[in-house]
């Protein structure tokens, strides 16, 4: 009876034993703690956007799971050597490959269960908060294949190098390799080598990845192919393990001849060699494909041979809008959790500048990356619309990360709108420094709607950069004068001088 014809029922019974007496459950509490303190808490710090939250799988979960999976699999793989049952099991008719496969499967079942449970917790947690979309499957699939390949690597290492130190060494080795892969993946650019993209760990995606446009699965397919190929090849090596070990132990020529003369099953050996060849071919193909990767228009990567044009089309969606006091604010439904806050921030300011030339009638969130470039906030169109992205609003970058409080967040949004309103059309992407007169006017308008100015008056001149202490004093003096005017007078002056103010021809002394 060959390995191929081992009765399934017996395999199932053996698998039950391996599953029941596996070492993985002993470390599950520790794994759960690492998952909670690293992956889940990191995800909790992200806005509830599916793609963003799912990035935690590759960037955090897989780190911890890989180290555990590698170490525990090595422990399981080295069992026969460590426990000195090599002769005992070798005297049994069941093929070594079949026996090792069951032991590997027992470990893999536990690790995959733990991984799936982690992903389930992450996704359920996200589902309770997310306002649009559904769980992305590719990151979970890539993560699962990552766990599988690390498990097979660890198990194979344990089989070939059985010893009590194999498991910790494999765990440490996997951590180091993951870290190198992560750092390489972060530094990958279109001009540098793109092979690091094969690492399932990646840089943090843009905040609205998978919201306005689909996330192309090209990279995920390549990663699965690469890691799956390694796993299949190593599984084939496991099938050749007894033969390889026999030859390695054979030593001198007479014993080598004896070892060769023993003869082994040809079919399992052929299958094992075929698996090694297929695995290497798959990994090599993935490696070659990764070399052709190039950045796509929406902040991801595409691989021409795998790319589907369908993923480049925008995701059809109906924006969520709110018109509190006549000023309409629209955001993507994925970000509807902050619609109220954005409207609350912009409504008073919109009322303050309503009727002035170029004043926006509405505000609309747009994709943060378009045509491969970051989209900055600004006012465009007729009637004018203030466009902002979830990632960039005026001077704020990464609006959901690192903003200490709600007031600062509101002030940032307001400053973004005012910058766009006062600066006028810009020739440069990104925030443009205001001139002193523009800054003084902006400060007054911000103060009028109850926000602490983030610019010159508050001393935060880093954005402007070029202002001196004397200029700051002059800006503050002009702002105080302008603020002392009645609102109607300010409005009238702005209506008359806004064009000149935008053109940069108004001086501080000319501000009433």
């Amino acid at each position: 009876m060959s390995v191929m014809s081992v009765p399934l029922q017996a395999s199932a019974r053996a698998l039950r034993l391996e599953f029941k007496r596996n070492a993985v459950p002993y470390l599950l509490p520790l794994l759960a703690a690492v998952f909670y303190f690293d992956a889940l808490r990191t995800a909790d710090g992200f806005p509830p956007v599916w793609t963003l939250r799912a990035s935690v799988i590759g960037n955090h979960m897989l780190y911890a799971y890989s180290a555990f999976a590698g170490g525990l699999a090595a422990w399981a793989g080295s069992r026969e050597g460590r426990r000195k049952t090599v002769d005992l099991v070798a005297a049994a008719p069941r093929a070594a490959w079949a026996r090792l496969s069951v032991a590997l499967a027992g470990t893999l079942c536990w690790l995959l269960l733990a991984f799936v449970a982690g992903v389930a917790v992450l996704y359920i947690h996200t589902a309770l908060q997310a306002t649009w979309g559904g769980p992305p499957l590719w990151p979970a699939f890539v993560g699962a294949v990552g766990v599988i390949v690390v498990t097979v690597i660890g198990f194979t290492a344990g089989v070939f190098f059985p010893g009590r130190f194999t498991a910790p060494l494999v765990a440490i080795g996997v951590l180091v390799l993951s870290d190198i892969g992560f750092r390489e993946a972060l530094s990958v650019t279109a001009s540098s080598g793109t092979y690091a993209l094969l690492s399932p760990a990646t840089s943090l995606p843009v905040i609205d990845a998978g919201v306005y446009y689909h996330v192309a699965p090209d990279l995920s397919i390549t990663q699965v192919m690469f890691m799956g190929g390694i796993a299949v090849a190593l599984y084939g090596v496991l099938g050749l393990a007894p033969r390889l070990r026999e030859l390695a132990w054979a030593g001198g020529r007479p014993s080598l001849r004896a070892a060769l003369a023993r003869g082994t099953d040809r079919l399992p050996n052929a299958v094992a060699v075929l698996l090694v060849a297929c695995g290497v071919a798959a990994s090599w193909t993935a490696f070659a494909l990764a070399g052709t990767a190039k950045p796509d228009a929406v902040g991801g990567w595409q691989i021409p041979a795998l790319h589907s044009a369908a993923t480049d089309r925008p995701v059809p969606v109906t924006m969520h809008c709110r018109s509190g006091s006549g000023f309409q604010v629209c955001v993507h439904p994925a970000f509807s959790f902050y619609l109220h806050d954005v409207a609350a921030a912009l409504d008073p300011l919109a009322a303050e500048i309503a009727g002035l030339p170029g004043a926006p009638r509405r505000a609309e969130e747009v994709a943060s990356v378009s045509g491969g470039n970051e989209v900055q906030s600004g006012i465009s169109g007729n009637p004018p619309v203030f466009e902002f992205s979830a990632d960039y609003v005026g001077p704020m970058f990464g609006a959901f990360f690192g903003i200490p409080n709600a007031a600062a967040w509101r002030a940032g949004f307001r400053e973004g709108l005012l910058n766009a309103f006062i600066e006028g059309p810009s020739q440069h992407p990104g925030p443009v420094p205001l001139d002193p007169a523009q800054q003084a006017v902006e400060d007054v308008l911000l103060t009028a709607v109850g926000s602490q100015p983030l610019g010159a008056s508050s001393g935060q001149t880093a954005v402007n950069g070029k202002l001196t202490a004397a200029t700051l004093a002059n800006i503050n003096a002009a702002a105080r004068r302008f603020a002392a005017l009645p609102a109607s007078a300010r409005h009238a002056w702005l209506a008359a001088h806004l064009a000149a103010l935008r053109a940069g021809t108004v001086t501080l002394a000319q501000i009433p």
């Binding site: 009765p7 017996a10 007496r21 026969e80 426990r83 070798a90 004896a258 082994t264």
Partner: protein
């Protein structure tokens, strides 16, 4: 013949562990005696098909173990207790025996009954659900024997089976070996000559890789007459043969 060895040699580097051994055995209990390093364990490992001979011919259960298919068939009908029994501490007694029953490719439906019988025959019923890590050395030895006999083997190889057993257990084990020897070939490698005297129908004595004596325990006893070394008659025979071989 269940075992037929013809001019078997096995070397480890320059060390000849087994040197020109020829042997034919049918059913019965066969004792393998000899000092440390005599080659008993190497010979048993070759009979267990886990160690190939450097040269010579082995036929087990009328099959050539060099052929993969034949080797599998031999292993299905083989029971083996190594000298150093490895075990998995987290397994219970029943699980360990069941695991090896499955490795021996017993029909899945027959496994539970066979496991229960093997456990009972070794008087391990009270400890059936105990983890192996909690058992004493003697208990573990009995678990090892239980896994060896779980498939009701036609060829049973026991390397130091009575090591660590108390006198009562040794008596029980000898009885078991005699019972098994009625229908199978049982080869027992041991240092304890009283085991041979009580359980074995035939005995061989190895020294420096060679078989220097083969006969019944009575024959071995006879060789010791007039020889002063040893407390028991069989021990005197053992010493006399060894002294003769070394001279």
């Amino acid at each position: 013949m269940n075992v037929a060895l013809t001019e078997i040699h096995r070397s480890f580097g320059k060390n000849k562990a087994v040197d020109d051994v020829s042997l034919e055995l049918g059913t019965g209990v066969f004792g393998l005696l000899g000092p440390n390093g005599a080659g008993k364990t190497s010979l048993l490992r070759m009979l267990a098909t886990v160690l190939p001979p450097t040269s010579g011919k082995i036929r087990l259960l009328d099959r050539d173990p060099r052929r993969p298919a034949a080797r599998r068939e031999i292993r299905q009908r083989l029971g083996y207790l190594p000298q150093n029994l490895g075990y998995y501490p987290s397994f219970t007694v029943v699980e360990f025996v069941e695991y090896f029953a499955l490795l021996k490719q017993m029909p899945s439906s027959a496994v539970p009954k066979a496991v229960a019988q093997a456990v009972e025959r070794l008087d391990l019923g009270a400890k059936a659900k105990a983890r192996l890590r909690t058992l004493s050395g003697g208990m573990l030895r009995r678990v090892g024997i239980a896994q060896a006999i779980v498939n009701d083997p036609d060829l049973l190889l026991l390397d130091e089976p009575t090591a660590g057993l108390d006198p009562e257990q040794r008596v029980q084990l000898r009885a078991l070996m005699r019972s098994l020897g009625e229908s199978a070939t049982v080869i027992v490698s041991t240092h304890l000559v009283e085991d041979v005297g009580a359980a074995c129908s035939e005995v061989a004595l190895m020294s420096a890789g060679k078989i220097v004596f083969r006969g019944t325990s009575a024959d071995l006893t006879a060789r010791g007459e007039g020889h002063g070394v040893g407390d028991a008659p069989l021990e005197r025979g053992y010493s006399a043969v060894l002294a003769e071989a070394r001279s």
